[in-house]
């Protein structure tokens, strides 16, 4: 009889040289940021927040292979939900975060059910419209959102009397939350559910022919992405203490797309890697003065040309070369 080792599709964790180098690199980076402090801490905080957003977006765009330009709408629900509940109703930050996630999840369910009947460019345009509508609501519904004035005085994350005020502690907290998000993503990707999503990405007719209900799985992926987006919106509000419509506008769509593709769409850790790289890169090229935008764009283009599957997939490239060497073959 076939052993469980054969029936299990869960990949075993391989601590090869490339993985160890990556982990050491990440540890050195965080240690450096902690030691240097100052503005870099804020940059890394935002990288972790965007990382959470991108890990969620990866469920829909990476694993399931669908296009969504409107996940910023759910980040706005998370951000404004948290702000309103905490400032107006004195709700606990964690409770406000969870409540906003539930609202965003229900909104994604309601919006996604009809929208996800569309495919390809039509789906992309419909989700893009969703983001624009949410942006307009956040600008125009001033009695609720305070319009362009934005919401200030949002309390930091915390439970009861314990609040996380220290910037380094905020970064630790955000990093832990991003890693939890990554762990959930990894577990789900390698589950029966994750395989169904990846099958849909590979071939919708092929997946349906195996008994996978396409519409249901797409909707679940869309809702999961919305939950992550909402959480990132709430985390932004609690970390920065202020939100305005611009935070969740078109800029967020462009930035998160860049992060996702630079890191590696469809890979497990790619979204977080992309968020860190795309957040740090502007700081690195700042020394080029007025050419910094040109330098930033040029580096991004080079990354996409030479690592089209994302930076996270570069490690796999080295691994496959190593396997191809004749002396390493079994």
């Amino acid at each position: 009889m076939t052993s469980p080792a054969i029936t299990s599709t869960r990949p075993t964790i391989k601590f090869d040289r490339i993985s160890v180098i990556l982990w050491i690199g990440a540890a050195v980076l965080f240690a450096g940021v902690f030691a240097y402090g100052g503005y870099l801490i804020t940059v890394m905080q935002l990288a972790m927040i965007y990382g959470v957003f991108c890990i969620g977006l990866n469920f829909f765009m990476g694993y399931t292979g669908q296009a969504s330009f409107g996940q910023n709408a759910f980040a706005a629900i998370g951000g404004y939900g948290t702000a309103i509940l905490c400032v107006q109703y004195n709700m606990e930050p964690v409770l406000a975060l969870v409540t906003s996630m539930v609202v965003a999840g229900v909104a994604a369910l309601v919006v996604g059910y009809p929208t996800l009947r569309l495919r390809g460019h039509y789906l992309a345009m419909a989700t893009f419209a969703l983001g624009l509508i949410t942006y307009d609501i956040s600008v125009q519904w001033t009695s609720l959102t305070q319009g362009y004035m934005g919401y200030a005085g949002i309390p930091p994350l915390g439970i009861g009397s314990y609040t996380i005020e220290d910037e380094r502690m905020k970064l630790v907290c955000l990093t832990v939350l991003a890693l939890i998000g990554l762990w959930i993503s990894q577990r789900l990707r390698n589950s029966r559910f994750g395989r169904a999503l990846r099958a849909i990405s590979g071939s919708e007719p092929g997946a349906a022919a195996l008994g996978i209900k396409i519409s249901r799985y797409k909707l679940i992926a869309f809702v999961i992405a919305a939950l992550y987006a909402s959480a990132s919106g709430s985390l932004f509000a609690h970390t920065v203490g202020f939100i305005s419509p611009e935070v969740f506008g078109l800029h967020m769509v462009v930035v998160t797309f860049t992060m996702l593709y630079v890191g590696g769409v469809g890979t497990i850790a790619g979204p977080l890697v992309g968020a860190i790289v795309a957040s740090l890169l502007p700081e690195i090229v700042r020394s080029t003065g007025r050419f910094q935008d040109v330098a930033y764009a040029a580096i991004l283009l080079l990354m996409l040309i030479f690592a089209p599957k994302g930076l996270y997939a570069v490690g796999d490239l080295f691994r496959s070369r190593k396997v191809d060497k004749p002396e390493t073959r079994a």
Binding site: T2, I6, T7, A209, G211, I212
Partner: protein, 239 residues
């Protein structure tokens, strides 16, 4: 010999499909009896793939379909798969960036966890090469191995009716023969098979009945033991 008098495994009645204004499949009727091996032959562009896609609801179609006596006309592709109508599509339809193991396990998507092991054993018995390549990425395998995986994945779903669209396409004659022989073995075990194939000699060795499709219509239905020479088929091909 199997006859239409018993309740057929699948019966298709007046099934028609079109792409835009083009009628790719004119109202067509056919059946497969339980445990029967039926082949659909026809030239390129005859509507063979369209017919299979219409049966499995991968494209919109009109007409009626019954499966084991139950009207399944309104069901969607995934619901037909749950009933046991499983198709290995043209071009294999593998998930190329997944491993052999993941592809096979996906085939048993609707199976209970306890059923997985037995089904894998059966597939490995038929195609031992898949067992050797469990962790290989599907797209990196040879054409023959990919076709074995496509059939193996379909078998993982424990089909009642296995539908195959040109499994020999692009394969060396020896490999094609090997795969079709395996289908013959499965049929002897009682599996109903509906095969679309261009390589008539191979298909006719295995099938009990053959439908000849040309210009979107069935031109003839013949028991294979009544086909004396391939010239008998040619006149239907060039209808």
């Amino acid at each position: 010999m199997t006859t239409a008098s018993a309740t057929p495994l699948i019966a298709v009645s007046e099934l028609a499909a079109r792409y835009g204004h083009i009628h790719a499949l004119h109202p067509t009727s056919l059946y497969v009896a339980p445990g029967e091996f039926v082949t659909i032959l026809g030239p390129n562009g005859a509507g063979k793939t369209t017919l299979l896609r219409a049966i499995t609801r991968l494209i919109a179609s009109s007409g009626h379909i019954t499966f084991n006596g139950r009207d399944v006309t309104g069901l969607k592709t995934h619901q037909l798969a749950e009933l046991g109508i499983i198709m290995a599509p043209e071009g294999r339809g593998l998930f190329g960036d997944m491993t052999v193991r993941e592809n096979l396990v996906l085939g048993a998507f609707k199976a209970k966890p306890g059923e997985l092991s037995g089904r894998l054993d059966k597939v490995f018995t038929l195609f031992p090469r898949l067992h050797e390549r469990l962790d290989q990425i599907a797209s990196s395998m040879s054409g023959g191995e990919q076709q074995m995986l496509a059939v193996g994945r379909a078998l993982m779903a424990d089909p009642k009716l296995l539908i195959l669209d040109e499994p020999s396409l692009g394969l060396a004659p020896r490999v094609a023969s090997e795969i079709l022989s395996t289908l013959g073995l499965l049929n002897k075990e009682g599996l109903g098979i509906l095969l679309v194939e261009q390589k008539a000699p191979l298909a006719l060795k295995l099938a009990q009945r053959v439908y000849i499709l040309s210009s979107g219509s069935i031109q003839a239905e013949l028991p294979t033991n009544q086909i004396k020479s391939y010239h008998d088929l040619a006149r239907y091909y060039f209808h």
